[in-house]
């Protein structure tokens, strides 16, 4: 409910109040461009909006060639459609009468897809679509190695396809095949092996469907850490990268090599040094309510010898190596978040910066869109 922005357009970066979520537009635009150049039309791009939660960004991804976006929650889809996005896949199961009712209502305003891994859920989804008079693109989520949601390949997947095909109001749209953990396997080799395993499951399922004369319109999945590997495998029609627009410290720990392009850090938390209690420590005003620590601490950007060592709710401990240029009280530091998605979810605004000045403020319309 704190919708006050920490900056105004035209302000210099150093004047922005802190903590603030800063988006460096040059790097952000370069990331969008690099994705397009790497994919080069070999697959459709459906950018993942769970990362950014922002229609302004979704519109830029679509202008750069994405067919639409995906997200994880009905309330995210609502915010995106409200923000002008016409094609949204909820790349997740939606369970519960109220949620399904909202999803079906949304499918009257935009092209909406959703994933299923359970026949009872298909019945509930069909009933909601029928009540709304809506058509919903329905994807079978396959378990392809992540061990999260998803139905087993083979007969279970075939049975679910038949259930969808027998449900008026549901259009069988294909397979959701996403191996989330593989995105963060550090070596290219580990990621290649994981994607090869997922691709085998996808191919087996498509072949089974074909033997039963069920066309599979689309296989969708893949993330920022692997998408070129899915494309090279030939088993995917559509990719769902999200983090590539921002990068984060965790993704930066991956080995990056062709065919994957390198992306730049474009997302930062701007913090202020609020205490200098000892020569070797600076305390900053950005703690774990300002930069999610689930995947590790943020990194201090372009300040050699400074390391963000630990966080409490509203404070961060920045250690100053011997001989490093020490920040003074009031100095501002840019932090690279450990994990971009949950960090974005802590803010209401992107403070968009180019050449050291605030160029725009973009609302994070789906911030807190949990249900």
């Amino acid at each position: 409910m704190s919708l006050q922005a920490p900056a105004t357009v035209g302000m210099r970066l150093e004047e922005v109040d802190t903590p603030a979520l800063v988006l460096e537009l040059d790097a952000f635009e370069s990331n969008i461009r690099r994705l397009g150049e790497a994919v080069a039309g070999q697959a459709r791009v459906r950018a993942h909006a769970k990362t950014h939660k922002c229609p302004e960004i979704a519109r830029r991804q679509i202008a750069a060639g994405a067919v639409g976006v995906c997200c994880q929650k009905v309330s995210e889809a609502e915010a995106l459609v409200e923000g002008g996005v016409a094609d949204v896949l909820v790349s997740n199961e939606v369970v519960g009468a109220r949620k399904l009712e909202r999803l079906a209502a949304l499918a009257r305003r935009a092209r909406i897809g959703v994933c299923v891994d359970d026949a009872g859920n298909v019945r509930d989804l069909q009933a909601a679509a029928a009540r709304a008079g809506a058509t919903i693109d329905t994807y079978i989520e396959l378990e392809v190695g992540m061990g999260r949601c998803g139905i087993a390949p083979g007969e279970p997947a075939l049975g679910l396809a038949r259930a969808i095909l027998g449900s008026p109001g549901l259009r069988f749209a294909g397979l959701q095949a996403y191996h989330g953990r593989a995105q963060h396997f550090r070596s290219m080799q580990e990621r290649r092996e994981a994607v090869a395993g997922s691709a085998a499951v996808v191919r087996e399922t498509k072949a089974l469907l074909e033997r039963h004369h069920i066309p599979c319109p689309c296989v969708t999945g893949a993330g920022s850490g692997t998408f070129m590997l899915e494309i090279e495998s030939g088993a995917w029609d559509e990719i769902q990268p999200g983090s590539y627009v921002f990068m984060d410290r965790d993704y930066a720990k991956n080995e990056w090599a062709p065919p994957l392009p390198r992306f730049e850090h474009s997302l930062f938390v701007l913090a202020t040094v609020m205490s200098r209690p000892r020569p070797e420590v600076a305390i900053v005003d950005a703690g774990l309510k300002a930069s999610s620590v689930d995947s590790g601490m943020p990194a201090v950007w372009e300040r050699p010898g400074l390391a963000y060592a630990s966080a409490s709710d509203e404070h961060g401990w920045v250690e100053i190596a011997r001989g490093a240029a020490a920040p003074a009280l009031g100095d501002k530091l840019l932090l690279v978040p450990g994990h971009c998605d949950p960090t974005v979810n802590l803010y209401d605004w992107y403070v968009c910066v180019r050449g050291g000045a605030v160029e725009a403020l973009w609302p994070i319309a789906a911030r807190g869109a949990l249900f």
Copy 2:
């Protein structure tokens, strides 16, 4: 900006959309009562609103005897004053011209306190108070063992007191003495030792100030894990417990013994089982954007044999022990967050429940109040 609530008043708990932040009012009210009974007028209570970020809760704490609240950020103080709280201590340093200007403006509307640990910051604070024509209660934050902000005892603290006393518009209000890490030391003995160490620093500093004829109006500090120990030491006038209203899984791991009262879990994340991919696993719709994992995973409430094992952004893996009653697709589970403060910061509403029905919806007015 998703301010939609997941429930309406009168709804049954099982109808509430998920994930939702549920406050069990009987337990919450009991926690407020138990604190009052334990303190029994031996110290003033200034409840910490960084935990709950909610004027509705602050007002109930004040009605139960608290002199006011504290918080960590100017924007939190703004939301609390806006919500009708007349006495707010920002128990933290405030650095930067824009923040100080806002703090001083607020001090014309309510009694406002703030902490300092730097003479330059005292000058900036004084200048802001002068420009606003405001008076600000100014506390010296002492380093008492936490190794975060705070000035060293002895001459540095004395010098800072003199700087405050020489600053028109600043009222020297006393000492902030808080050992945050001590709250989570597991054994009573470890916490006793930490508080004894902090108390020695406080006494030494008060004695030094007295020798220089500087009265110390108030020593404030202490949290939910130790407050009775600070009271017993006799060195504190005011305590700042926050988490006691909710409790969380991390606090529940502490040893609790007299003189500390036991508090109950009153805060929960309501989650839905959204996939049952394997007999031994249920996937719920509450991941690390729904329950902060910085202090560990949430616990599943009153469902023996179910354990929340890991989280991704929007999903949680609940492991089902052999022989345990397995939840069905669509079943709802209550989770006890690992850490209440950053979990609350993910939500816009408390869904307040009594006897299984929604009694009220309280806005989390300072959610996302970072700067």
